[in-house]
Amino acid sequence: MSLWVDKYRPTSLGKLDYHKEQANQLKNMVQCGDFPHLLVYGPSGAGKKTRIMCLLRELYGAGVEKLRIEHQTITAPSKKKIEINTIASNYHLEVNPSDAGNSDRVIIQELIKTVAQSQQIQSSTQREFKVVLLTEVDRLTKDAQHALRRTMEKYMSTCRLILCCNSTSKVIGPIRSRCLAVRVPLPSSEEVCSVLSTVCRKEGLLLPAELAKRISEKSGRNLRKALLMCEACRVQQYPFSADQVIPETDWEVYLRETANAIVSQQSPQRLLEVRGRLYELLTHCIPPEVIMKGLVTELLGNCDGQLKAEVTHMAAHYEHRLQLGSKAIYHLEAFTARFMAMYKKFMEDGLDAMMF
């Protein structure tokens, strides 16, 4: 628990550093008693999980923080055994059903049903429902999501679901309509800076404001990343200086280099090199959507106004196909090739215009 991220994580709704209004609303919701199913979504590093844990603490008290890891084995109707790890307290159960891959439907059906069917023993002192926390809901298969629909309604009396995901676009409509959607946006740059300086003060360190600013920019306002970066800075050099090098994640550097390679030359040989790099990124467990997004962001920096719109359009087109297909590399490479073609044409046109 000695990483700053873990050490200074707020544990109750009152102690949250930003989006305080939302925190208040959540608090009110707990207090007025009729707690709905929740769909918490927002970008990574915005503090969804922190907020959910605070909410649970508000619901059940400190007992919810006594967590244990359970290894469960579930037998599918096809006699296939599926093993999954769950994190549970006495009051709630956290599952990541997409760990089970294609069998997530079975997890949803069996695990949640067994939890939901059992009543809380002392309903006088406790809430009369348990909470099941499902993470990475946007990675659930459609089958599993449909299995979830009925379960949500049927066991409403004994069980509430909190769904946690990055984007609601992959969650089917029926589920969205059954939940209260709570969006947790990224903290603003100032909020990140204030959190960083608070943490550094608690650590007894002095953080220059410029550095905090730079870190918050570099991290893309991802608070988790910002804190880790800050700590890595501390490890690298202390006392801080305003213009010190901020360590980055390797994959981002690699992706930037890839984008540069694409811009600098457009040929089949270069495409082949880029393919190798894309494979490399994929094998390092970087999700293809993230690669696509990062690539587009990097590439757009090198484009002119007219081209920007076209590139974004193409990116959206291929990202959609990426979601429909299963072999990410084809679609990533297709986007790269299309960009190369477009960029090359644009440059040649520009040259022609210059000539005449």
Binding site: M1, D6, T135, K225, V235, T249, S267, H284, I286, Y330
Partner: protein
């Protein structure tokens, strides 16, 4: 300093380290089994030769003397039973054409006596009789001669000269006789004797007479012949077997010198894989790393005591002492080899088994793990029982097989060796099977011992005991990926041996030997390149060589030629173009390619091949339009595939073959394309699986409070890369004792972080023989990208310090956890101090381990050396103080550990000494 010491030590301990190996080498020089076999064989040959001689002699003799009823069995019996010395004497004295009859007759008499004292029994074992085929025709008539009367008729004069025969042509001059007439009307006379010998012979004589009367359907001659025939066949077979065995032994010995298979074997050899043909059969031929080999061998030798009942050879004392000194002087830092060494030197447990009952070999495929296990097990004198992925590995069957292998023993075979179980490819086994293996390992004989103690007669319990016996045989497990989730529990209980890469020099040398033996001309550079390309995968190298050999390619001068695998379907695209051009029409080309693609059927493979190769083609368009189209086609086929598989909508299958057609029209070119085998997707898949496995390994042991905050994605995207930076702080290269408080805080934070994120340093040995600390689980590989500047690493010393401190911290935590779980100890301490006046009697009953007594109860106390300990009188104020709890340190309360064998343990310890 450390390394120097270590090196020094290594040299010092050379004998000790290599003791086992030397032992094995010595054994190999004089392998008892082989030796006995050889000598046995030699002996046998001798005997059989002598037997032949004697048989020949016997034949002569029996003819000359007309020994009345010597069956073949008897002859053999004679040759079997007769005194070797006599025979030798006989042979020495007697040339084959005898001059002096006397001695031979004597010997014959002797022989006869011997044979008559014995029953007419077949030879004890067929091996003893060993006639070369040449002598065969001689023997059969002899048998006939002896048994029937024809022989006698044919050689009447010999019968007359006989002194001691029973069937006579003429009535004997003295004594009574019986006349017998055979079916041809020949009459012989049998002398009447009351001699025992005669009686012993009688039955056979009777039998022949019965036969003569035609009582048997098949005449006895024929029967005898059949028997003889069978015996002969057996003997021939046996001799063949022995010859083979001997040859194989000789081959094994001179395997290195062998000059390839002879021409007559060519046919048989061509069907064998070279991998099998040239697999090493001896310890010295192993290509794998010597250190690994030695470790495994040592581990296996640890079992000697329990399996063979041999005592371990005590190590030379001096070596032990130096080691001890070294350890004492420098107890904090242990190198990997020392740790391994210690594991191997560690005491055996109560059943005299080594501490780790399982060895787990891990490493990439094709390095010879299975071969190593087999060879070492064989050399250590075990009978190898292997279970691999080809066997059914369901839980019940697995249990059964383990039990059979570890608890039973073959009794039928001539060589009753104990079994050694080798479980190959264990990473593919289901978790249930591995749990069973673990249960087998941890099985305690507790119940059995108990039942034996209270009532051995109870049958039910006895049965249980039998079933639940402890594991007494070594088990070697082999896997490729050590971090498969199912193996996690096993990892902790196994003697882990990681297989390093084979050294390319050694491998290429072996490859050169093989190719020389097979008459291939290769140069070393090519072989080195081959080794490099295959990541030193021995199997793949040899297979490639064989493949090239069988293709008839004799020169391997260019590396690219080695790896130009047979062209896949893409080639057809090129051909299709040519044909199309000949035919001249686009429609025909389309039809042709469509036909080709749909007849091949493997669209997946085809698509991959196209994808991997299309960028290597000579693309016509400079604007990349064609490439974009091609990739759009690929994307389309991917979606098609996905829809097809998800919706089980296989009617869409008919659109699959259009992809190759599109590629054909986009990229086909006149010249012959060069095709690479499509492997990129598979490689990517395996790499992804490996990184996911290491992430999962890291996540699996992270405590719950942190586990809930991190997921695989956040780990790989945000956390891990920065975390690796964070755990590399700048530590001053001094002893941690000298750290400032701030630095100490930093170190403890670091250790805390590493423990809570389940990271640790493990010492590893590079192929060059250096020791490095690597992060475990191997998440560094997940984060680092090629081409980027390598991240800052801590120095070896810093890592060592961290690793040590971390172990200490782990121990501390485990202790506190134990105390929390079992608070009695702390509790008692506190209680005794506060309630001194209760004389501790209450606690005596509560916790038997601690014997609390007041000073009042103490008689004259004797310390370890037998001296009376002078007790100081406790002034009452002390008691008061203690009762008030103000001066705990001054109290006279002591406790005593009530278990243990010596007084050194059971002496009284004052509380103040503990505080």
């Amino acid at each position: 300093m450390d390394e120097y010491d270590e090196m020094f030590l290594t040299e010092d301990d050379y004998d000790q380290q290599f003791a086992d190996e030397l032992e094995v080498l010595a054994e190999m020089d004089f392998d008892p089994v082989a030796a006995t076999k050889q000598s046995g064989f030699r002996k046998q040959k001798n005997t059989s030769f002598q037997g032949n001689n004697t048989a020949g002699d016997q034949h002569l003799r029996s003819q000359s003397q007309a020994a009345p009823a010597g069956s073949l069995g008897q002859t053999e019996g004679v040759s079997d039973m007769c005194d070797r010395e006599d025979l030798e004497q006989l042979m020495a004295n007697d040339p084959i054409t005898p001059k002096a009859k006397r001695p031979r007759q004597d010997v014959a008499k002797k022989l006869f006596e011997v044979s008559q004292n014995d029953d007419i029994t077949p030879p004890s074992s067929p091996e003893e009789f060993h006639p070369p085929p040449g002598t065969r025709p001689k023997l059969v008539p002899a048998v006939l001669d002896i048994s029937g009367f024809e022989g006698i008729l044919e050689s009447p004069e010999r019968v007359t000269t006989a002194t001691q025969c029973h069937a006579l042509k003429r009535p004997p001059p003295v004594g009574g006789y019986v006349s017998v007439t055979d079916h041809r009307g020949n009459r012989v006379y049998l002398r009447e004797t009351d001699d025992l010998r005669g009686k012993a012979v009688d039955p056979s004589a009777l039998r022949s007479s019965h036969d003569a009367l035609g009582l048997l359907v098949v005449p006895i001659e024929v029967l005898r012949e059949q028997v003889a025939e069978r015996l002969h066949r057996q003997v021939v077979e046996e001799s063949q077997r022995l010859t083979e065995q001997l040859n194989s032994l000789v081959d094994a010995e001179f395997g290195e010198l062998e000059d390839g298979p002879g021409d007559e074997e060519e046919e048989g050899m061509s069907s064998r894989l070279w991998v099998d043909q040239f697999s090493p059969c001896q310890y010295t031929e192993l290509l794998s790393d010597d250190f690994t080999n030695r470790c495994l061998l040592k581990w296996l030798k640890l079992w000697d005591q329990v399996v063979f009942g041999r005592e371990r050879k005590p190590r030379p004392l001096s070596a032990n002492r130096t080691q001890g000194n070294f350890n004492q002087a420098n107890p904090k830092f242990k190198t990997k080899s020392q740790i391994t060494e210690e594991i191997l030197e560690a005491d055996l447990d109560q059943y005299k088994r080594p501490k780790y009952k399982v060895a787990l070999l891990s490493g990439p495929p094709g390095l010879g793990k299975t071969t190593l296990a087999h060879i070492i097990a064989r050399h250590a004198g075990y009978n190898v029982v292997e279970i691999n992925a080809s066997d059914d590995r369901s839980a019940e069957l697995f249990q059964k097989r383990i039990d059979t292998a570890t608890q039973m023993k073959s009794v039928l075979g001539a060589n009753e060796k104990p079994n050694c179980l080798i479980i190959d490819e264990i990473d593919g086994a289901p978790a249930a099977a591995i749990n069973i293996l673990l249960a087998t390992l941890n099985r305690k004989d507790g119940q059995g011992v108990d039942s034996g103690a209270d009532s051995g007669a109870e049958p039910l319990k006895k049965k249980k005991k039998k079933k639940e016996s402890v594991l007494l045989r070594p088990i070697i497990c082999i896997c490729n990926d050590l971090y498969v989730p199912a193996l996690r529990p096993l990892r902790q209980q196994a003697f882990l041996l990681n297989f390093p890469q084979t050294q390319p020099a050694r491998l290429s040398q072996r490859l050169a030997e093989i190719s020389r033996a097979q008459g291939m001309k290769v140069d070393t550079g090519t072989l080195m390149a081959l080794c490099e390309k295959t990541d030193n995968d021995i199997r793949s190298c040899i297979n490639t060589l064989q493949f090239l050999h069988s293709r008839g390619k004799r020169q391997l001068d260019i590396l690219s030629e080695i790896f130009q695998l047979p062209r896949i379907k893409r080639k057809r695209v090129g051909e299709g173009l040519e044909e199309g051009l000949k035919e001249g029409g686009g429609a025909q080309r389309l039809q042709h390619i469509l036909h080709l693609a749909s007849s091949s059927g493997e669209y997946d493979k085809l698509t991959q091949g196209l994808y991997d190769n299309f960028l290597l083609m000579r693309v016509k368009d400079p604007s990349l339009g064609g490439v974009c189209d091609a990739l759009d086609w690929l994307g389309f086929s991917d979606r098609l595939n996905q829809t097809m598989l998800q919706g089980q909508n296989f009617s869409l299958m008919r659109y699959m073959p259009f992809l190759p057609v599109a590629f054909h029209f986009l990229f086909a070119h006149m010249h012959v394309p060069r095709i690479n085998y499509p492997s990129s997707q598979y490689e990517a898949l395996t790499k992804t699986a490996a990184s996911r496995n290491s992430l999962a390994a890291m996540l699996s042991d992270v405590p719950a409070c942190i586990r809930t905050r991190i997921s695989e994605i956040s780990l790989s995207l945000d956390i891990l890369s920065l975390l690796l930076d964070i755990i590399c702080p700048k530590l001053r290269p001094v002893n941690p004792q000298l750290f400032s408080s701030r630095e100490k805080q930093q170190l403890s934070d670091l250790i805390d972080t590493m423990i809570s994120y389940n990271l640790s340093y493990r010492q590893d040995r590079t192929p060059e023989g250096q020791y490095v600390y690597v992060l475990e689980p191997r998440v560094e590989a997940v984060v680092c990208f090629p081409g980027l500047p390598p991240r800052r690493q801590l120095t070896y010393q810093a890592k060592q310090t961290i690793s040590r401190e971390m172990e200490l911290e782990r121990l501390r935590r485990a202790e506190t956890l134990l105390l929390l779980r079992n608070p009695r100890r702390v509790h008692t301490h506190r209680h005794v101090l506060t309630s001194h006046d209760h004389h501790g009697l209450l606690y005596y009953t509560e916790c038997p381990h601690y014997h609390f007594m007041n000073k009042i109860h103490v008689a004259a106390e004797v310390d370890f050396f037998g001296r009376v300990v002078i007790q100081r009188d406790v002034p009452s104020r002390y008691l008061l103080q203690v009762a008030m709890g103000t001066a705990v340190g001054n109290s006279e309360v002591w406790f005593r550990f009530n278990e243990g064998v010596s007084n050194a343990v059971r002496r009284n310890v004052y509380i103040r000494e503990l505080l």
